[in-house]
Symmetry: D2
Subunit: 381 residues, 4 copies
């Protein structure tokens, strides 16, 4: 079975195992004429790296240098496939020798064996979080394309290890703070508490879950399609395609199930326009604080789409991540011959994946939306 | 833009507007040799109908008679496309004249206009809930295919109008009860309370949201793919493709974000097998109560998939639906010329969509899984 | 296996067996706003019918009345799927009882059994020429879309039963003549000779092959893609997807294999433009005779595309059809139990399929090009 | 626009420009467990290289070293994407400086500019024959997969520069000879005549066309689908996707247009089986000479498929290639500003592409058939 492609017109195919020679992607369908530099990709790959510093949620160290192999000529996209590779380094494959024969609870080891009858046991093979490097590289190109359309994507960790961080509706929210602390939370006041919680989990050989919120601003109305390819349906697939993602909700989300129609409907103040609520002109915080250029709705419980089609309002969704499955605590499992085993997973592992999942979610969001933007061009005669 | 197809090998394309001549689907890729009768489809369409009785959450009346136009010969599928149509009847198109010029809050009227520059205003056109008849017809065929593989899908309303109904983990759960009461709740003891709540909302011109839980039992391990086509990602797209669906979660879901790895990991007791945990042999309630033939895991926080690949355990997910957007209460909006209007939506409307969404969710689940079962055949040399 | 869909953005799925209740199609992706009437489709279906008159190459009589079930509202396309059905009538299913057990040489009976293990033996089931009614209905919509872009498709029989009919390069070519004689040849002077040849074959229980030439004029440059989706590659698939088609060639075609580069290259007289060589403004014969608005090339050995991308010149290709497989002459074959049998195929059959294949080839060409026109919109930032 | 992907289940995406850093492919969907070595790919890439020796049809020299970046572990495919790259070397980019502003007749320069508004002028960019390296690498993997199914593909040049070479129906045909002479003709007796013709064309600054015949033996019956995805339709797209290919024909091909049904029908001697006519067990020449294990037909005018579905007989088709467009002779053209120019194309060029197109055609054939073999698995319940 395949399943390594995403998108229809802005289409990406990714490849690569955690401990193979390289990872990467081909983007087939990036329109010609886009200004693109290797640094656009390198910058996003750096954002995907473990965030350093005291109490960071991981202690791995990866330096990813992307190489563009095709599709760009004299600084602009050619309209041909853009291939990007990232060599794997710093592989301590021997760390994984024990795992050749044992199935780690919470990982894909068991299911992989059931599916393919074989697996690359080193670091989870293709089911490693490392797989996302190819997505982030592709998403970086999609982001450049979106930016050229005045659309911006930001994300933040809104819950980690049981600690909830309030969103922009409360004063003190600072999106730039997410790039400064190792947990990608938008409020510096929470960092210390999180740090202590993470350290305590590490000490006890345990791990934590978290929630990431994604915000898209500046997206025009009219994207998505009425039935299977709703904006929200495409983004839901995108989000759930991340390892460890167990749920997603848009706008008022699960809370909407307890609301009434008169509470949840967003009333309308203007007819359809072509423009999305502003983002790039003013910056993310500005666009939140001033709610400038709100397109046509008084509220946004819909989270940016109605009937699967974008409204021009902020696309807003939350994705839940389970606690990291690799833990030091001893767990019961079996080996390849079916014999009971006790396992304590060793090696360098994240304690919580949410901070590193954030840029990957952004990448997937960018890929999904770039595709919908191109598909939108075929809507009318 | 297209977006009316779903699936790769077991592929469906649906069509039809609420007040056009007919709705329906073509299924391209149903394997040859499947025993199939019109009644298989009619039965699922009846489950999709408004559930009658005092305090039912809708008062519309639709009789849907499917006609199979192709793909079945002498009682078995031919391997060719199976086309099914359902004629529209009982259309009171004049009910909708006012809506030609006015955008209903919470509906796709505004976004549709932004996207296509025109729309069929009668009953929401293709963005009507009626669109799902085509999906349910297709899903009925997928269900027959799954049943032949010993896989069964059931669903129930687990929350409605703010009232939560406990699941099978508490005694008194009865899946057959969902076919008997108008709210599809699995516990008769909750019906009266819900009835009163729904009636009270109807009286005040308001509506309610709800949550549907879907359970798949008997599914073999090995379905889905490690990256973009995870079982959960495909099902998430399937769920979010329903009108009014605002969120989905698998297994421990959003709650997993607050758990630790040692709490959330499912420990393993046996090596990979080909069989799913039993369902069809014993019936749904039996399979829950006795947990017979549990394949290999002590618990199922994963909700039936690890690394995007099915484990053979129960696939379990919850989908949240927003309150019905059509309400009698007066709402602020604008008309096509941008002038402010006040609107009270008239006509026959559901108060809560969750009970009728349940069989549609089952249909989408069946379509997604039938496709993954066929794709699975290409996994190994 | 599926294989009943064609196209990416302007995407069609067809269905229907020769003697089932109905045939038809869904077009998913026709842009919104296209003026469309049932008569547009009915007219093309009439062109697909057996052409009457003395010595016509078939004696079947089919009246096909298309019904549009969705996707059109108040005379214009909605942007939603356009479903069209055509009921089967005049079915003499009992004519085919003998064929339940016997494999007709030259038909798909044997291969169908090998593939699916079962088949609808009545009239060839889905492998009947009747299947093309769904394609023609879909192609009719594509033709309306192309016409709105000033692009026109015409075709003629350029060889039938061994008799070659000269093309427009010789005086006396009249495209309108193809709608007047039963062989769709563009020169009335050849009709009598063909008639006699066809009658003679009919009398001896035999059949004939033929070649159809397709011409597309007014198509803009820039369609198609450099690698797998070359205009010619897509059209080749389109042509070879017709039953009985055994070959296709573009421009100088097979003859190019014996030419030199200096003979075959088309020299260039002007830089790239957006417009195709004129067609609709002047009519097909005018555009051939005056060669008005020739875009940029002195000759057109390329047949309208270079490197897989349209040049704006006439797209010109020829498709070869084998003789009709159903013949009265006795042939050796076997039955389902493998026993040798002698078979004389009875019933109403075409003697040569080329005249009726012509409008189907046009339909497939229209579908392929409509898709490429929409895909073209995503070429540049 | 995209168009750089091919296949549904055995799916390849290729990338790379003639003078960019690298070319290559990702194969998504190669089943797990296939024995695969880098040498399998390197060997096919060597076959694609210019064939040396006196009078070879090209004088370029390319050494292609493939690197497998993913999808293979401990010598077997993992079921994950197999990425392969080939670095570009020996690039004399300055050779092409003149072409930055001038459109070469017969090349994609002009159409590329019309489509994308920009192009990589160096060696034709992605429209270079060099692009096929990625296809050949992917096709090599498909060939290994086919070989494991006992299916073999061979090809030969059957016409070059106007000289026709008889096929296996005449004594003296030797398939191994195609690997020994620079023109890939299967009869050594023709080499001298061809050599002289090619040398004479080279001397006069001209070029030649040719025809390649492809033979597939051992393929089981039942591949392909009855409508758009006929075996022949898929192979036709595959063949016409090669640069310079202007036509394709299957079995009796264009000649069938002049035959009668009784001449062209292949009579049947046995019922459907699962096995294809033997190839790998006996070798290609053996299977031709002895016609061992002929499945069920007396002749093979069909060229291996009926109704689009494989018969188990030899798949046989011919593809016509136009003369190489790059010629030394002076040709009229224009430059980017539309001014008339005279151009003599310099650099190292093939005189006839057919010999080097042969292994690429094999690769495309292998890719198309590997896909159909996997799709075949979903045919029956």
């Amino acid at each position: 079975m395949s399943g390594n492609s995403f998108g229809t017109l802005f289409r990406v195919m990714t490849f690569g195992e955690s401990h193979g020679p390289a990872l990467g992607c081909i983007i087939d369908g990036c329109p010609a004429g886009l200004l693109l530099e290797t640094e656009d990709i390198a910058a996003e790959l750096r954002r995907r790296r473990p965030l350093g510093g005291e109490g960071a949620s991981t202690s791995r160290n990866e330096e990813d240098e992307p190489e563009i192999l095709s599709g760009v000529f004299e600084g602009r996209s050619l309209g041909t496939p853009i291939a990007i590779i990232i060599r794997n380094r710093d592989q301590r494959s021997q760390d994984y020798d024990e795992l050749r024969e044992v199935y780690r609870p919470g990982h894909a080891d068991w299911t992989w064996e059931a599916k393919f009858g074989r697996r690359d046991h080193r670091g989870g093979g293709r089911s490693s979080g490392r797989e996302t490097a190819g997505r982030v590289a592709a998403g970086a190109v999609a982001k450049v394309f979106l930016k050229a359309s005045n659309t911006g994507i930001r994300s933040w960790v809104s819950s980690i290890a049981g600690i909830d961080i309030p969103g922009p509706e409360k004063p003190g929210f600072d999106i730039e703070e997410t790039e400064k602390n190792p947990f990608r939370v938008p409020r510096s006041g929470y960092v210390k508490e999180i740090q202590e919680k993470i350290e305590s989990l590490r000490a006890s050989g345990d791990s934590a879950g978290g929630i990431v919120t994604v915000s898209v601003r500046g997206l025009p109305p009219g994207l998505g399609a009425p039935v299977f390819d709703k904006v929200s349906a495409r983004l839901a697939q995108a989000a759930l395609s991340l390892g460890g993602c167990k749920g997603v909700e848009f706008g008022s989300g699960f809370a909407a199930a307890s609301l009434t129609g008169s509470q949840n409907n967003d009333t309308i103040t203007a007819g359809p326009t072509d423009a999305g609520a502003g983002f790039m002109d003013s910056g993310f915080m500005d666009s939140i604080e001033r709610k400038t250029k709100r397109s046509a709705f008084n509220t946004n419980n819909a989270g940016g789409s109605l009937g699967g089609i974008s409204t021009g309002e902020e696309i807003l969704f939350r994705a839940a991540f389970k606690p990291v499955a690799s833990i030091g605590k001893i767990q019961k499992t079996v080996d390849a011959s079916g014999r009971p085993r006790e396992l304590s997973v060793k090696g360098r592992h994240d304690i919580c994946i949410a901070p590193r999942a954030a840029p990957v979610l952004e990448a997937m969001t960018a890929l999904a939306l770039a595709d919908l933007i191109l598909l939108r061009r075929a809507d009318r005669v």
